[in-house]
């Protein structure tokens, strides 16, 4: 069965890094990613199931890995060779239990919650984070009976979504997909869960000015999550939800998903200044690039030095910058962070969230919220094109240039691969 596999090869990582200068995703041809005949992964235990991917998304962190741009921080948290792909909707190979405790029939569809925490690793007692449902913060992702791997898609034992050979998934990772939900909606549940986790963890209050830098998949899903959760009363309602987007189609999506202002990326600081009624400072004051006040919360969904510095320039004193996009090693001027006492926090994965309820705050699994939001918002519409696994170079180039090519989310379509046939890209 065809699989895409990433091997540990420093020369290949170096070559990918060079190729990526030409554009994101260009490392696919000469980098550490290879198309191989993959073996079906062995199930590590009785509480594991084999699932067959149907759609598997291409994430920004995947592109970073393929292009050799990922921080070396992750070296100890992955195990080679691994099959990428952690945004997955799949079918059960045989009947098996799911995270909700129910039994899913063979061929029923499931979405993978890819974090490999204490439960999946068979570690008892669980770490403090897993014990309280914060599986994304698990302290044991490099321990237990599995090889290191913070998620499925980064662990050599489990397989990953970019493979027709299947994935070994722990029952705590499997969520049954409702009958009425499309595969496209289902494949966006995982990134939507990331967005929901970022939004609910940001501490948004009623009346806040919230800015989102970047309107790729994550930026749009953060916007959608904020819009949806505030409209359903699950969280506070910001006064302004401003999104800076480079491309027109991204601005349209942001507006559909509840942005009160969807602007050209260069105009975002000006809009934040307007909504927060701030003044501007410095030589570029007329361009409103460094504000005296600013947004209460800024979500950086890009993760570059420029985007983080832009976020620090447009957040208010004692405001919060949430890094949703995965950063790497960066050269940053943090004077504004120090001087304005800004909180710079990361937002990774998911687990359990606190949401507003009729009788006070209640705890809900992030994936449960994500399923509900994906169905309500139709986030599957963001899946712009799918490719068979054999055409991975085209798929990754498309994903790397998604914004420029009018796309948002690119995914591998393995529905026919399992039957032994392939087809061209579907857009």
């Amino acid at each position: 069965m065809k699989s895409l596999e990433i091997e540990r090869s420093l020369p290949r990582f170096a070559a990918a890094r060079l190729a990526a200068v030409l554009g994101s995703g260009r490392g696919a041809g000469i980098g550490p990613l290879r198309l191989v005949e993959g073996a079906t992964p062995e199930l590590p235990g009785a509480d594991w199931s084999l699932v067959h991917p149907r759609l598997s998304g291409i994430c920004g962190s995947d592109l970073s890995t393929i292009d050799g741009r990922t921080s070396r921080y992750f070296e100890a948290l992955v195990s080679f060779p691994f099959v990428p792909g952690h945004e997955v909707v799949a079918t059960m190979d045989e009947p098996g239990r799911t995270a909700q405790g129910s039994v899913a029939a063979a061929e029923s569809r499931v979405v993978l919650e890819p974090v490999l925490g204490c439960v999946a690793r068979g570690i008892e007692p669980r770490c403090a984070a897993c014990a309280t449902g914060r599986t994304g913060d698990c302290e044991h992702v490099a321990f237990g009976h599995l090889s290191p791997g913070l998620q499925t898609g980064f662990c050599c034992d489990t397989g990953g979504g970019w493979s027709a050979a299947g994935i070994a998934a722990h029952e705590s990772q499997l969520h049954l997909v409702p009958e009425a939900m499309s595969d496209e909606d289902a494949v966006t549940v995982e990134p939507l869960a990331c967005a929901i986790h970022a939004v609910l963890g940001a501490g948004i209050d009623d009346g806040d000015v919230v800015a989102v830098i970047g309107a790729g998949t994550l930026g749009l899903l953060v916007t959608a999550a904020a819009g949806h959760l505030s409209s359903t009363g699950a969280m506070a309602t910001p006064a302004s939800l401003l999104v800076g987007a480079r491309y027109v189609h991204q601005r349209r999506w942001a507006e559909r998903f509840g942005a009160t202002g969807a602007l050209d990326a260069e105009q975002l600081a000006r809009a934040v200044r307007r909504r927060s009624r701030s003044l501007a400072l410095g030589a570029s004051a007329v361009g409103a690039e460094r504000l005296t006040g600013g947004a209460d919360i800024v979500f950086d969904c890009v993760g570059s030095a420029a985007s983080i510095e832009a976020a620090l320039d447009m957040v208010r004193p004692r405001g919060r910058v949430v890094l949703v996009g995965m950063p790497g090693r960066l050269h940053l001027d943090l004077a504004a962070l120090w001087h304005r006492e800004v909180a710079l926090v990361g937002a990774y994965a998911y687990g359990t969230e606190k949401v507003r309820g009729e009788h006070g705050p209640t705890s809900v699994r992030t994936f449960d919220l994500a399923f509900e939001a994906a169905a309500a918002l139709g986030t599957g519409r963001l899946v712009s094109a799918t490719y068979p696994i054999e055409r991975f170079e085209e798929a990754l180039a498309h994903a790397g240039a998604a914004g420029r090519r009018g796309a948002v989310k690119i995914a591998f379509d393995l529905r026919s691969a399992r039957r032994g046939t392939t087809k061209g890209p579907t857009t």
Binding site: G261, L263, Q267, R273, R274, S278, V286, G287
Partner: protein, 529 residues
């Protein structure tokens, strides 16, 4: 040869192509046979002795006002207010009319022993003038005598310490004006009445007012009911200003109004062909046109902008009158009409205009897309009396490059207005309700208005309200040669050529439309019968 009045030409086979302004440039367009072209009257002769005429006007006022010398006495508080950089257009050659008039007023004040004199540039919500602009308007002698001592000021509509609330009109309009002016023993206002809209009670009630006061007439409702705002009796804008002006007078503010009119001598001799009728161009005119248009076509925009904004018009004063506001203004308006009025028979299906590089709000700056709209749909569209040149449901075709470009120092709130407000709505009423207050009260815009050279935060809204009547009246607006994205953002249709625009217009007004071209500048006013 005696001065020729305005003229409406009917285009036939022998008619040469017609000059169209196109921002920082111009070109020739061949109009369909049967089209009409409206030409401005030739310039009225200048006053032979302008200084003598000014003295005469100050000594022989209209209405119930006493001569200026008799109103001046030692120990009094005198404030002289004057029109800002928005007038005249293009800026006139030195000496500027303001300099000539103010020097005479100061001579009389000095003779009477008045030593508490302050000059105030009546900015309303316009940008502050720069030192070179003030020097040009007032002359070095006046500038150097007043500015170093802080006695040359610019009205600050956001300075609560220097605003005085006068009261409310019968219609509930708040009247709040410059405190120094309002508490002076005499307020002398020096006008340049370039068009019929200028002057009258609008000088003080608008030029020296605060936002709190201005918002009562600078709004979509008022502008939609000003038909046109160049014709005071039919203008709700003026009716409101007149109510305010009368309240100001009743409150005890003594205004001595000085109004001046200009002729249509708009361009210096090297650009003389721009104010000639095309069939009268001589060999030199044709050569100048060909050489200059070729040079401009290849020149960088920055260079062209600098070139055109360096033009000083040879405008000459044709009349000066002083005294009581309403009596003075009636004569001024008649004089403006005498210079600019052109009788036009009937309306047209399509009205075409070439828009030049300048409007009242981009002197020494960029004509951004909002100002393009304002010049075309606000000013030029409203250059009529009785009824608009174009029929209701008709099409307006403008020619201008309409660059997506803004001056960040002069027009900071315009950038946000274009990016954020127009992206959401082009409806003046809706934007008035949803956005105006937040722009008007934005502390950063207020800061830039007060300390820099920025138009007030609310100003782009006013520019759009200026278009409100046209937006309601027209079936379609087409801009030829404009930046397509910018034109669409304005809610208009872009066209590459005039022929394309005419084809698009026929979709709206039918297959055999009538067409009229407003050959402006020089400025004219159409009296549509």
């Amino acid at each position: 040869m005696s001065r020729r009045p305005g003229f409406v030409l009917e285009v036939d086979r022998s008619t040469p192509p017609t000059l169209f302004w196109n921002g920082e440039g111009y070109g020739l367009e061949r109009l369909p046979e049967g089209s009409r072209v409206i030409y401005a009257p030739e310039p009225i002769d200048a006053l032979e002795d302008p200084i003598g005429a000014i003295r005469h006007a100050l000594n022989n006022p209209y209405g119930d006002s006493a001569p200026l010398p008799s109103l001046l006495r030692a120990g009094m508080k005198l404030t002289i207010c004057f029109d800002d950089i928005s007038l005249p257009l293009p800026p006139m050659e030195s000496p500027d009319i303001r300099q000539m008039v103010i020097e005479e007023v100061l001579e009389m004040a000095a003779a009477a022993g008045v030593d508490d004199v302050v000059l105030v540039a009546a900015l309303a919500l316009h940008r502050r003038m720069t030192e070179p602009e003030l020097r040009h308007a007032l002359g070095d002698r006046v500038y150097d005598a007043f500015a170093p001592h802080g006695l040359l000021t610019q009205h600050d509509a956001e300075d609560p310490e220097n605003l005085l609330y006068i009261g409310q009109t019968d219609e509930g309009e708040d009247v709040e004006i410059n405190k120094r002016a309002a508490t002076s023993d005499l307020l002398v206002y020096v006008n340049i009445n370039l068009v019929a809209m200028d002057g009258g009670h609008k000088s003080v009630a608008t030029g020296l007012a605060s936002y709190k006061s201005l918002r009562h007439h600078h709004n979509p409702q008022t502008m939609r009911h000003s038909r046109s705002f160049m014709d005071a009796p039919a203008s709700e804008l003026h009716t409101s200003n007149w109510r305010m002006g009368r309240l100001i007078a009743e409150s005890g503010v003594k205004v001595f109004q000085i109004e001046t009119t200009l002729n249509t001598d708009t361009f210096p001799s090297q650009f003389a062909f721009l104010q000639k009728r095309e069939w009268e161009w001589n060999v030199r005119d044709r050569a100048t046109f060909a050489a200059s248009s070729a040079a401009l076509a290849g020149a960088p925009t920055r260079y062209k902008r600098r070139l055109f904004h360096s033009i000083k018009a040879p405008h000459a004063m044709t009349s000066v009158q002083a005294g009581e506001v309403e009596a003075v203004h009636a004569i001024t308006t008649a004089n403006v009409w005498e210079q600019q009025g052109v009788e036009v028979e009937g309306q047209t299906d399509i009205l075409t205009m070439g828009l030049p590089y300048i409007c009242p709000y981009n002197v020494n700056s960029i004509m951004n897309p909002i100002l393009v709209a304002c010049l075309g749909l606000g000013y030029f569209f409203n250059l009529y009396r009785n009824k608009p040149l174009v029929r209701e449901g008709g099409v307006l075709i403008l020619k201008h490059p309409t660059p997506w470009e803004f001056d960040p120092a002069f027009h900071p709130s315009y950038i946000d207005f274009f990016e954020q407000v127009l992206a959401e709505t082009t409806d003046p009423v809706l934007m008035h309700k949803q956005f105006e207050a937040s722009y008007a009260n934005d502390p950063w815009y207020i800061h830039l208005y007060r300390t820099g050279h920025a138009y007030h935060g609310v100003h782009p809204f006013y520019m759009w309200y200026w278009c409100a009547h046209a937006l309601e009246h027209l079936g379609r607006v087409i801009i030829v040669g404009g930046d397509q994205k910018a034109v669409r953002r304005l809610g208009f249709s872009p066209a590459s050529t005039l022929d394309d625009a005419l084809e698009m217009a026929r979709d709206v007004v039918g297959p055999s439309p009538t067409l009229t071209h407003l050959h402006n500048p020089p400025i004219m006013m159409a009296d549509v019968r």
